[in-house]
Amino acid sequence: MSAAAASELGVVDEAQPLLAVDRLRVVIARSQAAVVDEASFTLDQGEVLGLVGESGSGKTTLALALLGHTRRGLEIGGGQVLFRGLDALSAGPELRGSQIAYVAQDPAAALNPTLRVGTLLREVLRADGRFQGAAVDERIAELLEEVRLVGVAGVLDALPHQLSGGQQQRVMLALAFARRPGLIVLDEPTTGLDVTTQRHVLDTVRTLCGQYHVGAVYVSHDLAVVAELADRVGVMYAGRLVELGPTGRVFRTPAHPYTRGLLRAIPSPTRAHVLAGLEGQPPRPGARPHGCSFTPRCEFALAECRAGEPAPAPVAGDAHWARCLRADTIVGLRPLAELPERERQPEDDGEPPLLEVNSLRAAYGERQVLTDVGFAVRPHRCLAIVGESGAGKTTLARCIAGLHSNWEGTIAMDGRPLSADRRGRGRELTRRMQYIFQNPYTSLNPRKTAEQLVEQPLRELMSLSRAERSERVSDALAEAALSDDYRGRYPDELSGGERQRVAIARALVLEPELLICDEVTSALDVSVQAAIVELLHRLQRTRGVTLLLITHNLALVRSLADDVLILRDGRIVEHGPDVLDQPKSEYATQLLANVPSLTPA
């Protein structure tokens, strides 16, 4: 019977779970290689299930498949998705919007740029036969209230690009909840949003789900966010669900080595501990090895692990299971306790500041971005510059590096003022200060080998013999934990983490004193971030490199930074070594409170 007919007759089996997924498989049409395989779970009404995984895990593909939708080149290869007992894979188009809704990751791209918000809302409601005339406007008013967009003047007449990221996402939520569906699938809806905005969106989701008893599947790579929101969590690796259970339990006592690895790689906003990353990368679809896909990276691997994919093994009852032959052993380990605390840097070593900024005012064209910024960077320490988007932290970094020249004030290194135009700075200065970019996919010339890339600064700024250069390149690569094999590789043969390490090696080859790191881990997966973070930490402690860390990730700050500087709207709000523990301003306090935590209170 069709979904519409069923709901009309009121045939809803209360005993059934809202959503029952059984061995769902999604494949690449051409090669039949599995992108998602053997995915099975259930979801009850009003429950929130988190789906976590890194890039390549298949989580978005799985999320879309719940609506019976696959992206171009992919097709459903097997399995079943039952929504209230109905086959969602075949009835997909009927259920979409009315019974199952989807909230996309990037609201700016997901909203039609030529249609106004009001038009979009009306369209979705009119598609449902039940809404006519005044009822439409009533529902729209209700929705705006629920997603807290009522206060925004003229929102219904606005075009998407006229709204902020947070507002756009709330419009997406309104569209999703418009017809009061029974299930909502959210795909990383807060990626790219500020901590504060993210907090608002999460609260809205939680409230609405609770109010309307809506089941939700929340896909994310951010475990802390999922920890706050989800009742249960499923961990995905290489297309499979490798662990599933109540959120608190899974994150406190994981039963799968991958989950454990992830948890050890994530910095905590409350405790500065050493991070442990995962070596290697997940296998691509079609290249997944026989047996457990995680074996090559697993420290607990046994010979049997290669024999076949382990079946879900229950750990402490049915509610929590993991696909691991050693699940029982692993669940008994405490992943974080063993990670040692970071040593604090001695407070005052009396050395003069390496870099001093005074009364800095910077602008982009007519727009003032930084106002009256002044601070000192102490040598051999890590200063984190934190702020939300638009705060001006990247602009500040660029002014210091010489990438942005529209500023006034003084920036001085060792007492000598730097010119705004980098061309006026001279070789020596350039050599001492190096910059690492955020995006490792665009900061390396795709047509050059790692060797050529790392050697380039040497050729430009120093006169060395070929042999000397080659030696320096090897040293720099080794410093960045890359073996000599990497010399001849091109960027598109490297993973994101490896690329970022080449970028770091390139920065290190000149033996700089100051390293400016602009959101250098934001583009990387969690398990890879840890290695980079540890690398930077080592450079600072053992080589004495001064780090200027630009980031919006407060947990990262906790892990790496000795001193913290908070920027807001181009002005300094707080600065000092104890900002995280003893924030003095309300803004900083709020900011810290809004950070999602793996272990919510």
Binding site: I28, A33, V35, S55, G56, S57, G58, K59, T60, T61, L62, A63, L64, R71, R72, G73, L74, Q105, D106, T191, G192, R284, P285, S389, A401, G402, L403, R422, R423, R427, T430, Y435, F437, Q438, N439, Y441, T442, S443, L444, N445, P446, R447, K448, Q456, P457, E460, L461, Y490, P491, D492, E493, A503, R506, E519, S522, A523, H552
Partner: protein
């Protein structure tokens, strides 16, 4: 598949596809005919040796043309000059266009504004009309035709190259090289240029096709390579009146021009797809994983 020897690798990859192989074979065949043709003509191509529009016979397999010259000989001899001129015009056009496009993209502001103004002005002229304009007063000299066609290619190439170069200039690796103090010219040749090769390769193919079309059209109008030299474009026009008597004089050169341009176009299309394919593995993986390569900031 990686960035190594991008240009060559793409060509090879294109040649391996079905379309690419077909296109390449066709082009090679016609080029061979055009280049070797003049060496194997059975009769002198500029002498009248048979009757006007004579029907094909064993001695003259394609019959006679409008003044009784052997059509087969003229066909064999009439291609090489066209191809050589087209190649030269393409080289000028693409070379100039690449330089203009990269300079406009990298230097931006004033240089970009000026160059794009110049491009707009030249683009207003249909290519054939531009060639006619230059030829009108100075005469139909080979070098002038090559120059005229080449110049008219440059703005189109510049536009395409500029678009790609703009995107490249936005990328951080260009910034990082600038931070090293590298002078502008070296940034353009060392960083930007190697990354536009795939676009340039496609443009080479497209422009070569266009060059052949325009030069042949000019000859067809009687304003290109002058008689009595054998010349496919001219032959088509000369022998139009005799279409009913001896269609071969028109059909064969027509077919040859059509064949080589279709072959070229097909191969160029294969190149375009192949260069997309070099970047595709990353895209496909992301697609398959369902995760956009987008990055949070």
């Amino acid at each position: 598949m990686s960035g190594r020897r991008q240009g060559l690798a793409v060509l090879v990859a294109a040649a391996r596809t079905q379309r690419g192989a077909v296109g390449l074979v066709i082009v090679a065949a016609v080029v061979l005919l055009a280049v070797a043709g003049p060496l194997v003509v059975p009769h002198p191509p500029t002498e009248s040796v048979t009757g006007t529009f004579a029907e094909p016979s064993s001695a003259f397999p394609l019959g006679g043309d409008n003044i009784g010259r052997d059509v087969l000989s003229r066909v064999l001899a009439g291609g090489w000059l066209l191809l050589v001129m087209a190649a030269a015009a393409t080289a000028i056009g693409v070379g100039g266009g690449v330089i203009l496009g990269i300079a406009a993209a990298y230097r931006g502001r004033l240089t970009d504004g000026l160059l794009m103004r110049a491009v707009d002005v030249l683009l207003a002229f249909p290519q054939l009309v531009f060639a006619l304009l230059l030829v009108s007063v100075l005469g139909s000299h080979g070098w002038l035709i090559v120059l005229a066609v080449g110049i008219s290619h440059a703005p189109q190439v510049a536009r395409v190259v500029r678009a790609t170069a703009l995107e490249i200039c936005e990328r951080d690796f260009v910034r990082s090289v600038e931070l090293m103090g590298t002078p502008a010219r070296r940034v353009m040749t060392g960083e930007v240029l190697p990354n536009v090769t795939s676009v340039v390769t496609v443009e080479l193919g497209l422009r070569f096709t266009w060059s052949i079309l325009i030069i042949a059209s000019l000859s067809f109008l009687g304003l290109g390579i002058q008689p009595p030299e054998a010349n496919w474009g001219l032959m088509i026009n000369e022998n139009r009146i005799g279409l009913v008597s001896n269609p071969w004089a028109v059909v064969v050169p027509t077919a040859l021009i059509a064949i080589i341009t279709i072959g070229l176009n097909t191969f160029t299309d294969a190149i375009a797809r192949a260069s997309l394919g070099v970047e595709r593995p990353a895209e496909e993986a992301a697609l398959a994983a369902g995760t956009p390569l987008e990055l949070a900031s």
